[in-house]
Amino acid sequence: MADPSPVGSGIRRTIISSAEFDQIYRAWSATMASALAQGEPWAIVGIKRGGAVIARRLWGQFCAAAAGSKPQYGELDISLYRDDYHLKATKPQVLGTSISFPVDGSQILLVDDVLFTGRTVRAAINLILDFGRPRRILLGVLIDRGHRELPIAPDFTGRRIETRPTDRIQVRYRETDGEDRVELTGGT
């Protein structure tokens, strides 16, 4: 895999190239597609911002492949559910949440691009519960970079990568940035 970045470098480099991203995405989406194919219909719900981009791509793919009823779709903005307002000088920007399907009794595939401490997913689950009581939620993440601070575990993982807690991981998408790739900026 990628070689570790020099300590304290602050240099940004690509750790997953476009080609590798494609392989990871295909395998990840195929696993989820077959798991979700049986039984009741699912809803794909993405966590803004990055998770929503990849969730929309997944949803488009699942819709195209759906024989019967198409999966529902939703997007979450967790900025009102964070646990760290008292640690920051300014409030996070509110981006808006849209869930148009009834949550009670639904099966939700919650999608994010990078899983790190787990706090974002915790916030997303609380947000979903404020809309109703889903039958169950499964978690799909493209990248799991470790360093969990809460007991949160993904059900579907694209790729696990080794990072330091101070590193910054950024996923770029062809929809928004022209190309799919994953970048790491070494922490100081």
Binding site: L80, Y81, Y85, H86, K91, V94, G96, T97, N126
Partner: protein, 313 residues
């Protein structure tokens, strides 16, 4: 941009970007009121006190609901039934309440400048809910938000504010906000309550509503304070209504997609007839709904950062 202000005292000193940021934040809050559990935890554990020294039902309830939707604890202090009757000063009242641990004070007071003065005396954040005839920023913000949600822009719109502008904080805050966002603003009414000197604030003054009717995109009708008749500012309420009230006949001469706003409470048949208040041009109820989202956005943005950090006022 990052929101750094600790208080919201008026729109006069806000930049265009800051106003847009509040409106964009309010967009994100609209959806909360459509859920079955209409709450988000963002201000959980925060205490908001509505310090109202003037009568108000809708503004106070709106702020109370906004705080509740953010999971804050909201307390109401109404001047009439309080120790101000015993002669306690504004500063002492506020400091006493603050000593119990309050994060945000929402203040309405009959004196211009009261909110700003309070902001210098207390450690909490202060939101101006109306100070004399000076400013009522959240009302103007929700008016602007309502217009923008339908017209998709403010720049270039022709907006008439009609009524008792000399005594209106709603008008003044609207003047500031709308002009910063590029609208052409007209102040309309009889010369006794819409003086030419208002032109110094950058608005165009007109004493003839009919002349402006076909050009305006928006009419914001202010409540005629009926007590003013005793002060001889206009001959009769009926004459005022005939010259400056919006009725069905006038709306037929206005643009087909013109909007009618009113901050409430309405004097039906005076500044606006029931036909217009309940008609297709009216967005009065939208204003009330949007008012919640806008006030949630304001409370969210100004509620504190790290304790001890003091961002600029």
């Amino acid at each position: 941009m990052d929101w750094t202000r600790k208080h919201l005292l008026g729109l006069e000193n806000l930049s265009k970007d800051e106003i847009l940021y509040i409106l964009d934040t309010a967009e994100g809050f609209k959806e909360v009121s459509t859920r079955s559990v209409k709450k988000v935890p963002a201000l959980r554990g925060k205490v908001i006190v509505n310090l109202f020294f003037e009568a108000s039902t809708r503004t106070r309830i709106s702020f109370e609901l906004a705080g509740a939707r953010l999971s804050a604890d909201v307390l109401n202090f109404t001047g009439a039934a309080s120790s101000t009757l015993k002669g306690e000063s504004l500063a002492d009242t506020a400091r006493n309440i603050e000593a119990m641990g309050v994060d945000i004070l929402v203040v309405r007071h009959p004196c211009a400048g009261a909110a700003e003065q309070l902001s210098r005396l207390v450690r909490s954040s202060v939101v101006n809910a109306g100070d004399g005839a000076h400013e009522h920023p959240t009302q103007a913000l929700l008016d602007i938000f309502t217009i923008r949600s339908i017209k998709k822009r403010i720049e270039g719109l022709k907006i008439a504010i009609v009524g008792d502008i000399a005594h209106s904080r709603v008008a003044r805050s609207n003047f500031w906000g709308l002009q910063k966002l590029g609208a052409e603003v007209y102040a309309v009414g009889p010369p006794t309550i819409v003086p030419r000197s208002l032109e110094r604030l950058g608005v165009r003054v007109s004493h003839n509503l009919d002349d402006l009717l076909p050009e305006m995109d928006v009419f914001n009708m202010l409540r005629l304070q009926l007590e003013r008749q005793d002060a001889g500012l206009f001959p009769t309420i009926r004459e005022y209504a005939r010259l400056f009230g919006l009725n069905g006949e006038r709306m037929r001469r206005a643009k087909r997609d013109a909007l009618v706003l009113h901050p409430g409470p309405i004097n039906r048949g005076v500044e606006i007839t029931p036909e217009v208040a309940d008609g297709n041009h009216s967005v009065i109820l939208n204003q009330v709904t949007n008012g919640l989202a806008v006030r949630m956005a304001v409370l969210y943005l100004i509620s504190g950062g790290p304790s001890g950090a003091a961002p600029p006022p």
